[in-house]
């Protein structure tokens, strides 16, 4: 809105004018609720990435027998915890073993000394009482404990990773399939289009939840990755339809015809002229899809078919709350977390829709 008012004279040294996405960001930034949603997702990403440093019983950094180690990485991937701690029989209890085996050892500890996988014993950490099953929130267990005596706060912090990864991976798969097939159908048309459209209709008829339940019954050790794959492989239809529609529309626009008549190669036309113009509307269902995927994962975990038990997931905490309805902290904290996460994605999706809507853009040009 403020770019056109400069006098012609100053055109001499024009700044690089903002690109399309910069422009979208500028409009997105002005909206309060989408920005709050985005901020909450950013907060979740930080929590997920730094989960082992926020809650855990393994040092973030420690010096042991003259070498620096990062045992907390074991929470992200068990093989990243140096084997020396297993050889030296740490059994997960770092504070006493570190000083017992190497008096000169030092360590930087997570903010909250609680473990998402096991209950802590008395005096594992100086002054820490032993965790009992189903303890209400107190100063040692911020969100209480679950029926196994595991700290709910630690479980939730580590479960954030699951929630985010489910959303991103399953929608990543869906987006790759959906955009590719939709683009092919829309650009080439004809029998290819009919084929893809029929495929979309067939896949749309597959109920995701039931397919996942069937898979769990068949696969011996279902993991969260199976679940994400199924959500991804069944959730691409909306994205494909939208991409197809955009490609159909853009294929006949004058700038694409101009590109063809200028002798520009087909890959360049598809990737430089059509795809970037089709991306904005497609981004919106992807955002909503992430929210839906998180909900599916939470529902499955709630039904007891989710990530296998050691995996911390918000849904499994809810599941524990189902059997212990009087223990309000088992339901409230994960429930609120799921609600706000899904809400955030939906708000961001809506904000994107408004920020990329060409009808709202035109008032400016």
């Amino acid at each position: 809105m403020n770019t056109q008012q400069q006098p012609v004279r100053t055109l001499k040294r024009v700044p690089r004018s903002p690109g399309y996405w910069q422009d979208v960001w500028r409009r997105f930034r002005r909206k309060l609720f989408p920005m709050l949603g985005l901020a909450f997702i950013g907060f979740l990403v930080i929590v997920a990435v730094f989960a082992p440093a926020i809650a855990g019983t393994k040092p973030v950094v420690c010096e042991y027998k003259g070498t620096l180690y990062f045992p907390a990485l074991g929470y992200l991937n068990t093989t990243w915890e140096n084997p020396i701690f297993r050889v030296d029989k740490f059994r997960g209890v770092y504070p006493e073993n570190l000083t017992k085996n190497d008096p000169k050892a030092w360590a930087v500890w997570p903010l909250v000394y609680q473990d998402p996988y096991r209950r802590v014993r008395a005096n594992e950490w100086p002054g820490l009482p032993a965790a009992e099953p189903l303890m209400p929130p107190d100063r040692y267990h911020l969100f209480g404990t679950d029926p196994a005596g595991v700290d709910v706060f630690a479980k939730m912090v580590h479960g954030t990773r699951t929630a985010l990864v489910v959303g991103f991976i399953s929608m990543g798969i869906a987006a790759i399939i959906g955009i590719t097939l939709g683009a092919i159908a829309g650009y080439f048309g004809g029998w290819i289009d009919s084929l893809v459209s029929r495929l979309i209709e067939v896949v749309m008829c597959i109920p995701t939840l039931i397919l996942i339940l069937a898979l769990i019954a068949v696969v011996e050790r279902p993991t969260i990755w199976h679940m994400m794959a199924i959500i991804g492989f069944t959730g691409w239809t909306g994205i494909a339809r939208l991409t197809r529609g955009e490609f159909l529309r853009l294929r006949n626009t004058e700038f694409v015809l101009a590109a063809i008549s200028l002798g520009i190669r087909r890959p360049t036309i598809i990737f430089r002229h059509v795809l970037p113009n089709a991306m904005a509307p497609v981004l919106v269902p992807i955002t909503f899809g992430i929210a839906a995927a998180i909900l599916i994962e939470a529902s499955l975990s709630f039904l007891g078919f989710g990530a296998p038990p050691p995996n911390p997931s918000w849904g499994t905490i809810l599941d524990a709350g189902r059997a212990n309805l009087s223990k309000w902290w088992l339901v409230t904290f994960p429930g609120v977390a799921i609600l706000f996460t899904v809400l955030s994605y939906n708000l961001v999706g809506e904000g994107l829709q408004e920020a990329t809507d060409p009808r709202l853009r035109d008032g400016r040009a």
Binding site: T3, Q4, L11, K12, R13, V14, R16, S17, G19, Y20, T253, E254, F255, L257, A258, A259, I260, S261, L262, G263, I264, R265, T268, R272, H273, P276, N277, A365
Partner: protein, 339 residues
Amino acid sequence: MPLSIASPIATKPLVRIRGLAKHFPLGRSLLSRGHLLRAVDGIDLDIAPGETVALVGESGCGKTTAGRLIVGLMTPTAGTIELRGEDVQTYRRSDRQKLTRQVQMIFQDPAGSLNPRLRIGDSIAEPLRSHRWGTGEEIRREVGKLLERVGLDPTVSRRFPHEFSGGQRQRIGIARAIALKPALIIADEPTSALDVSIRVQILNLLADIRAETGTSFLFISHDLAVVKHFSQFIAVMYAGRIVEKGPTRELIEHPRHPYTQQLLASVPSLDPSVKRILVDGASAPPDVSSARSEIGCSFTSRCPIAIDQCRSITPSLFPVLNAASCEVACHRVETTART
């Protein structure tokens, strides 16, 4: 613009079009199968090197389709397009570059023909890059020169199309079309989306470019007033066919086909004493679907001088008696057909 009317050019034509036709199927159901929209229905046209030919007609007469056929955006149903004696349809896909290097197009809607996501410098550079014209630095310098050539500041190359006015966007479109120094530019109503005041500027720009480079133009327009200053030769199209063609002055001063006469009469004049006659039945555009009878002159229903013969025999183009440079497709005009 003083323009000398080109003497009949003896050299071989740059473009030679014979029997060019494009039919679109109408409807896909079993009942309507076989019905065709005859957008272009057999046109013959020659364009000499350096010559500007205008293709004139009302909307829906197939002139845009004709332009797109020549530039290769569509495949014709029938007929041939020869470029310097070579049939362009024999060009394989890899050879399409050969065609696009020589034939370029300027589009009607300057806003729609520029990719809104590309900075205009990139839009202009794209044909150069695609045809491996030179190194990145050479191309950047050339883009600057092209922008200057069309009257824009080279520093604006980093801006986006929506930051320009309609006239400026059309200049960008022209810069892109002349980037590869084509032998023929097809200008599809390049000025009809523009303000009258800007129209003249764009026409002058095109005329300058033509004078400098000797490029041939196929100027597609519905506006005879624009065309008569810009082209040396005019072909009038009606319902997919050329009904009259001839050198500009001859055709403007002595229109022979009744449609051309009506078209000329509909051009507004600055002289209030000249009464403007609207084309009779202007609300009824020609029916180019095959629902109409395929026999007879398609202009019959709007023609003031139609006779029975017009409904039964389709007139073909024949040179006019006493003015051999003009050709008319009308039974009521004295042509060589009758001698």
